[in-house]
Point group: C3
């Protein structure tokens, strides 16, 4: 069974949408970000469309991010080869014609509600309809925030972290609030290649971050939480709170969503994009700021803990080491099994690399 659980030796799942960047990060500068082990060049065209190219001149491997952007065209800083925003080479200064098929791979890139989604797998399989829903982030009826943390840990450890709340009191102390909730019994369901964890907390006085958002400190509430692992790239936690003590301003039901996007950089590091969207206190930037600070502190505590774990794995030479699991790990074990399965399916299909496809015969 342990052999069928993904870890840092498992190849990345490539046929999937991953967050490449927050929308706000990418502009007319040529920026470089390593994704699934590949250097990716990110920039916006003059019309605002964001594009992603392999950040490597196909001629002599110079990083295109160290070149120049004029209009939508990127010029290599070494020999001046020019590439359009589709990756095709459109000029080789030292000769009058461009060799057929010369270009750098372009990766499908789709912008959705504050995120830029990239597809590093077979472009023929890239269907934007499969991008996870997170429309609340740009919904006028919601307020929230986004953020980014660079993590020195394999991305699977981060999925494991958000699927198992039992670490809250030990790693985050009182900051995250609602310690009792984190230790409640939960229900785990595997639905195909997804996992959903459900918790119900009935009639307990609310506290911490949720009370701060709603402004109902001390009220008894019902709280329903659904935490979804929807892909190797995306995790969303939906929380519904029902105020049993009269609510606030005549309203008794409130929703809060926390989104965690994990994009592998290498097997030992990843990009962590996070966001929150709530349908309450939406005209309160002070509440947004307060919650964003709590979230950032907690997520950094996760990052620091997982970096220690990562170092233990890489520093200690214990080939046969097997971690043991407890009941709280059930959702995480499902997740690791799913990622392993998907990686093996891709391996079996011998997914041709983007590089191989784009190169002339």
């Amino acid at each position: 069974m342990t052999q069928s659980l993904a870890d840092h030796t498992t190849p990345f799942v490539r046929d999937e949408w991953y967050v490449a960047a927050l929308s706000s990060e990418i502009d007319r500068r040529l920026q470089d970000r390593k994704i699934l082990g590949i250097g990716v060049l990110l920039y916006r065209c003059e019309d605002g469309t964001a594009v992603a190219l392999h950040n490597r001149c196909p001629h002599r491997s110079f990083p295109l991010s160290s070149g120049k952007l004029v209009g939508d065209t990127v010029t290599c800083g070494y020999h001046g080869l020019a590439f359009g925003s589709d990756g095709r080479c459109i000029a080789v200064p030292s000769q009058s014609t461009v060799p057929k098929g010369l270009g750098t791979p372009a990766y499908p890139l789709v912008e959705r509600a504050l995120f830029l989604w990239i597809w590093m797998g077979d472009p023929a399989h890239a269907d934007p309809a499969t991008i996870p829903d997170h429309h609340w982030l740009s919904d006028p009826d919601h307020a929230g925030f986004t953020g980014y943390i660079h993590c020195r840990s394999n991305y699977i450890r981060l999925h494991e972290n958000v699927l198992d709340l039992t670490h809250f009191p030990y790693l985050h102390g009182d900051a995250v609030g609602d310690v009792t909730f984190s230790q409640l019994p939960f229900r785990t369901e595997r639905k195909g290649h997804q996992v959903v964890v459900t918790r119900k907390d009935e009639g307990r006085v609310i506290n911490g971050a949720n009370a701060l958002i709603i402004g109902n400190e001390g009220h008894r509430c019902n709280r329903l939480s659904e935490s979804w692992f929807t892909s190797p790239a995306f995790h969303i936690a939906h929380t519904m709170i029902e105020d049993l003590d009269g609510g606030v301003n005549g309203r008794a039901e409130f929703h809060n969503k926390i989104i965690h996007c994990f994009t592998p950089e290498t097997q030992h590091s990843c990009h962590y994009f996070y966001a929150q969207a709530r349908d309450v206190a939406i005209d309160r930037p002070d509440v947004t700021d307060a919650i964003a600070r709590v979230a950032y502190k907690a997520f950094m505590e996760d990052e620091e803990a997982l970096e220690l774990v990562e170092r233990t794995w890489t520093d200690e030479d214990l080939a046969d080491y097997r971690e043991l699991s407890v009941r709280g790990d059930l959702p995480g074990l499902h997740m690791r099994h799913i990622i392993f399965e998907r990686a093996m399916i891709e391996k079996a299909a011998s997914l041709p690399s983007r590089q191989a496809e784009k190169q002339p015969a």
Copy 2:
């Protein structure tokens, strides 16, 4: 023959007592020290007993040294699993029972005269009676000092260094004194898995550190030295000095012992614990300070030289390189042959790893 000499590719000898720490280093803090490639957690219980556990939560590999110590119990800083000083898990906060056999390996740890000795091999073989004798360190009839140096060199190079005094004038100059002595003929005996080197120096005027200790500068003395490699972890040099010019305060025979304990950290670094014990000038802290300073300077010179040697080995890609030996290397060659032999004996016995034993079936 060269194939049967241990070097940095030889597995560590695990069935052996190694010094884990000076007694004075370990207290109620949770401390981490890598020993034979394994992260070890060291702390003292409330009754003062020092314990050593594998510094890795068996659940998700978090370093226990980043957790908390309450009473004798260590709580993991990630999910709160609690471990007794014997390494057994005694609580998993997210569930009411503890899975059978859950725990982190505990390593036999014995405190003897200023040192804490650890056994990283098969615990069934751990017999404290085989800990090398160094009772003089805490003997009221002796005075001396202890110290620690972190060395960026394989431990075998350090054994080689203390078994071959011919390097004194070239590496240490006049500081260590008695250059002539270091180049005297010596006798090498192999006794099972030990090596003893004997030197006799008769009727020569004494100088340097020994004269400083005894206070008999300029007297002719007989000097008998026995330098023992007793295990991969321990080397002791006994020196007996007989004053032929009337002695000091009516006494003519004096003893001095220098102890070198080498504990591999990795194949390219080790922990060096050293100590001195003498039966003369025992009420003279000024003498202790002076000798400790000379020793520290010389041992650091050894460390720096061996670090250069280590770097040469790792930087130069010369797979077939073979060092050549001269007569002064005879004790060191015996030592390397013994370590190689012991490593091969353990390999043949397929010593089960501590990890494997402690994990539930």
Copy 3:
């Protein structure tokens, strides 16, 4: 075909003269320089002769450069073994005789016009007659300069760089001058294990560095350039300029030579020794300074660009990546094919390592 092109996985060509140092760098100090992956000790004897020894005591691998030089003899800083300038051990302090054959390899080293040339291959093949000609560097009828840059790139990339001038406008901007020239058609000839690239530029107004040297800014000139890859260690560009507008001080023909010497340090770094020699303005140190500054700036731009390329190769895990070539790469492809061929010839001949030869049986 790609398999027969050398890259950073190709073994170094050892049977070749490489520049070990500028003459001016080596003196009575013991200096260490890694060449073809081997630590080399460089110093001058009392009579001024420069010598090169393996920088590793054959006894216990201590770097001899951390020892002492007295007369022509190097004494190891660990056990005091002494070596003559031919590498032979002449004293082992702890014993009265020196073991037969004990020594450290000495590498043939020849001084020619400001450079020290080393032979790291089979010494039986070391024929100084095959050292590339660069006598102009010390010729009283010429003026010029030499310089050194440590490059964090494989040496093959640097050969590629000097064989393909089409990068000038993109990497060096206007500084190097004569952008049009760099993009002119050229002729490539392979002559055995050498490559020559010829460019003819007729009747164009001269500018940039050449005009600065000659002092004929604005004159129409014919310009003939021959750029030679003569060995894995050496590249020379000869330029002949014929002034069609009356010349300067009654003279119409001028010569300028630029020499690039690349000595691999590791597969990811190399030593870059460069020089210029001209037969005009030879009594003008101000011209020398000005040209040397322009050259240094341009060569550093090359180094920085190639370091980016090197990092792309080592950071991205793309085993099958194949760079594509354009017409300007033809000289570089010949060069890479020649280096590959020579490396394979040496492999087939199983060139015995220097170490193996020098060690006693």
